[in-house]
């Protein structure tokens, strides 16, 4: 008996020593909701899906430049209303079935067609498709009119109007291509801990222990030769950032994401750790609602933009992990920035003069809403709000801070007349400026209102954005979004406070990790060496 125990112990020790070197342990910020692609929008699920699935289009490491993935090339029709994708041949799903145009068609139909038989009913929504592409099959707004298999490795998408950004949008992490055979076989279980998920990506599903970890193993038939570089990937669900950092220090995880910026110094000074910065792809802003009297005057809004010492605030709360520049889009979209936009200088005196011109020499009372939750763009909303409030009080604006629980906050800001001033932000889905401008400035704007309590409609900006979304001429698109950048800046309806770089961290023996600005990246290139 005793010998058996000793043998078991020795075998365990041997097995664990080998496994430790070949297994990458990722400290995830939470547990995936589901692994069914196209049906989930939360970042935690998408990060896990990114390891299992491939998308038609991928992005160059660390950038938003599209590169081939499951599609080897793509081209638009002369009128810009159709996109044709040539697909990679010889790719197999983890279950051994072939990847081809019919597999893509199967996935697209599941996302786009509410009547598709393979849809998991009973709560699933596939809302991201409708959000990015105007609606679903059979609805008036749907951009997509038809999707056709041209031949075994060619598929064509037909739209009602030109959709220049379709290749980058379909490359978003939401749209991993799943095995039709696996989806059909698992039915409602697909994507759950009981059913797993099957893609063509670098790792295949092995086990999902609810509340604890997701265990993936190397896909031996991965179409990228020599990848992934580790035999297994374990995603441990560690929601608390302090706990994640402690585990990283203790060496029980190899790399992790979403560490509060205040920890940068502690990571830099730890001889076992390296900080890793994700390129900024977000905006944290202060929205000013013109349905309220003082804020309906653009001079008042501009005065507020001038009174907030954004540079000092960014320095204090983000240090080198944030930048502020007046542009609504992050620096990945520099091409689309207007050269006429230079941020409002911090000038309380000038701000007071503007207020006086607008008829408020003694300031006014302002309800200022701050988020009750932490987000990469506002990691400590209350403290940041207080800093902004202090600046506003210097020009006579008496700030009354308000907050509500997150569900109510999101809900109530859209109920007319909305909040007076409130903090919120956005993290992009794909590398096109329309993804930042349209949800915030295209009509109707659902969370800002006019004096009559109607959803705000900025006609000039809306017309511009409509042209930008449909133009197939890249030079023209650049001009359009540069104009939109300038108009949005002058309107000061949403004052960009920060574009932040999310802080990630790894052990020193981890290399090859290049974070994507889009929020999730495959860990196929990551190498773990012994120290």
């Amino acid at each position: 008996m005793r010998r058996q125990w000793l043998m078991a112990l020795a075998l365990s020790a041997l097995a664990s020593a080998g496994l430790a070197q070949r297994t990458l342990v990722f400290g995830h910020e939470g547990e995936p909701v589901n692994l069914e692609s196209g049906n989930i929008t939360d970042g935690v699920s998408i990060y896990a899906q990114r390891q299992i699935y491939d998308t038609l289009v991928d992005f160059k490491a660390g950038s938003t430049d599209p590169i081939p993935a499951l599609a080897t090339s793509w081209f638009a029709s002369p009128d810009g209303k159709s996109w044709t994708f040539r697909l990679r041949q010889g790719v197999k799903f983890h279950d051994g079935t072939d990847f081809d145009a019919n597999a893509v068609l199967f996935n697209v139909n599941r996302w786009w067609d509410p009547k598709d038989a393979s849809r998991i009913q009973g709560g699933a929504n596939y809302e991201i498709w409708g959000e990015l592409f105007g609606g679903y099959k059979g609805t008036d707004g749907s951009f997509l009119k038809a999707v056709r298999v041209v031949d075994k490795y060619t598929i064509r998408f037909d739209f009602g109007a030109p959709l220049p950004y379709f290749p980058v949008a379909i490359g978003a992490g939401y749209f991993g291509i799943a095995s039709p055979a696996a989806v059909k076989a698992q039915g409602a279980k697909y994507g759950t801990p009981a059913g797993g998920a099957v893609g063509t990506g670098p790792y295949r599903f092995r086990e999902w222990r609810v509340g604890d970890r997701l265990i993936l193993e190397k896909n031996p038939t991965f179409w990228k030769q020599g990848l992934p570089k580790t035999d297994a990937l374990v995603m441990r669900f560690i929601k608390d950032p302090a706990a994640r950092l402690a585990e990283l220090k203790a060496g029980s995880i190899d790399l992790t994401i979403q560490i509060p910026p205040a920890n940068l110094g502690a990571i830099e000074s730890d001889r076992n750790l390296d900080p890793v910065l994700r390129p900024s792809f977000n905006v944290g802003y202060l929205a000013l609602n013109p349905s309220y009297k003082p804020l309906s005057d653009v001079r008042v809004r501009q005065a507020i933009a001038m009174a907030i010492n954004k540079k000092a605030i960014v320095q204090a709360f983000w240090g080198k992990l944030g930048e502020t520049n007046g542009h609504f889009t992050p620096s990945s979209f520099k091409t689309y920035w207007s050269s006429e936009v230079t941020d409002y200088e911090y000038n309380p005196t000038k701000a007071k003069q503007l207020l006086a011109q607008a008829g408020y020499p003694n300031g006014f009372d302002l309800e200022f809403w701050y988020m009750p939750v932490s987000r990469p763009y506002f990691p400590t909303p209350k403290e940041i709000a207080e800093a902004m409030g202090a600046d506003l009080s210097a020009i006579g604006i008496k700030v009354k801070f308000q907050t509500k629980d997150w569900a109510t906050y999101l809900d109530d800001r859209k109920k007319a007349p909305g909040f007076q001033a409130y903090m919120l932000g956005w993290t992009g889905d794909y590398g096109d400026p329309s993804n930042f401008f349209d949800p915030h400035f295209a009509s109707p704007i659902t969370d800002l209102f006019d004096a009559a309590g109607k959803q705000l409609d900025v006609k000039e900006l809306n017309a511009l954005l409509a042209r930008g979304s449909s133009s197939t001429n890249q030079a023209e698109r650049i001009r359009i979004y540069q104009q939109a950048d300038k108009i949005a800046f002058d309107l000061a309806l949403r004052i960009p406070i920060v574009h932040s770089q999310p802080l990630l961290a790894k052990r020193k023996n981890i290399s090859g990790w290049v974070p994507s600005p889009l929020g999730s990246e495959s860990l196929e290139d990551v190498v773990k060496t012994n120290l």
Binding site: S12, L19, G130, P193, G211, F237, K239, A243, S252
Partner: protein
């Protein structure tokens, strides 16, 4: 006694009915719409409306309650609105972790707290008494979150003696397969991973057990002091019984009733989950799960979770009541 047990079990029905009504009512009374939370910053009013329809939130509230109770009576706790997973299967997956941690924490509390309380009472006003009462005071006063993080930094990060979180190391995945979800039991049955599983239990159990430990120390001390001043103890001493016999056979057994009551209450509370400890140690229990359910307005998760926790709490208290008869033969159940 069996008639008493049957009566108590029948009494569960109105209790659970009341709890189901309360949890259902409170969830609907607090502002915030599940559809809005699910769709987040991006949801349009049309999408919110469509999702509300799909989740059945457009139905009249009494109808929603009847559906919930109807499902409950069939043992169906519904599906999480977020993950679409069955609440029952989620409970089955998470409950063993909570149970294991609660048992370990109570063991820490009982094995240290009760002897410490006895020592304090027997050596009343001595340095031991002062030390034990100070320890108890510190125990109830320490914020769990702070204590947990300090233990992690000391024993996991700096000394590297114990793991910092989770229930199992990644290395143990190579040779250990959880089957029942009770990892201690699984590892003993498989004769593998025992040390790994136990080492993961130590820090969370100490963190979670600190408050019950402190409470038990104080309760044991005061119960013992009361019993030690009773006539029968004086009589036992007068008859020449040794101090050990007086304390262990005469005093402790009679002092145990309030101690067992507190153990039952504390254990029942711990079985409801421990949000802070679970968070610090990434422990996949039901406390943080129900808490997230509240934040996400995941009605089926909160309703199912709370009803289950209430059921467990009531059953534990029933067991405590039954144990009185074992401790005190004068107590009989009719």
């Amino acid at each position: 006694m069996w008639a008493y047990v049957a009566r108590r079990l029948l009494g569960l029905i109105p209790v659970l009915f009341g709890i189901s009504l309360l949890v259902f009512g409170f969830l609907r009374a607090i502002p915030g719409d599940p559809a809005v939370v699910m769709l987040g910053e991006r949801g349009t009013p049309e999408q919110v409306e469509a999702l509300r329809e799909k989740l059945g939130l457009n139905r009249p509230i009494p109808e929603q309650y009847l559906i919930f109770v109807g499902q409950l009576l069939q043992g169906d706790l519904g599906r999480s609105t977020f993950s679409l997973l069955e609440v029952r299967s989620l409970l089955i997956a998470k409950w063993p972790a909570t149970f294991e941690l609660a048992v370990a924490a109570m063991l820490v509390a009982i094995l240290i707290g009760v002897p410490l309380g006895i020592l304090a009472a027997v050596r009343k006003n001595s340095i031991w008494d002062n030390l034990a009462t100070s320890f108890a005071l510190i125990g109830v006063s320490l914020p769990v979150f702070w204590l947990g993080l300090m233990l992690v930094y000391l024993f996991a990060v700096n000394l590297q003696w114990l793991p910092s979180g989770g229930r199992l190391s990644v290395e143990a995945d190579a040779f250990f397969r959880p089957v029942t979800g009770f990892y201690v039991l699984d590892s003993l049955l498989q004769r593998s991973g025992v040390a790994d599983v136990l080492s993961h239990l130590v820090l969370p159990a100490v963190t979670l057990g600190t408050i019950p430990l402190a409470i038990l120390t104080r309760i044991t001390r005061s119960a013992m002091l009361e019993v030690l001043s009773q006539d029968y103890v004086r009589t036992a001493r007068a008859k020449g019984q040794t101090e050990r016999v007086v304390i262990w056979r005469h005093a402790l057994k009679n002092a145990l009733l309030p101690v067992v009551t507190i153990i039952g209450l504390q254990f029942g509370t711990l079985l409801g989950g421990a949000i802070l400890t679970e968070t610090i140690f990434s422990w996949p229990g039901i406390g943080s799960w129900i808490y997230e359910g509240i934040i996400n307005r995941d009605y089926p998760v909160v309703q199912g979770g709370v009803v289950f926790v209430a059921l467990v709490f009531v059953l534990i208290n029933l067991l405590v009541d039954l144990s009185y008869a074992l401790l005190d033969p004068r107590i009989q159940y009719r």
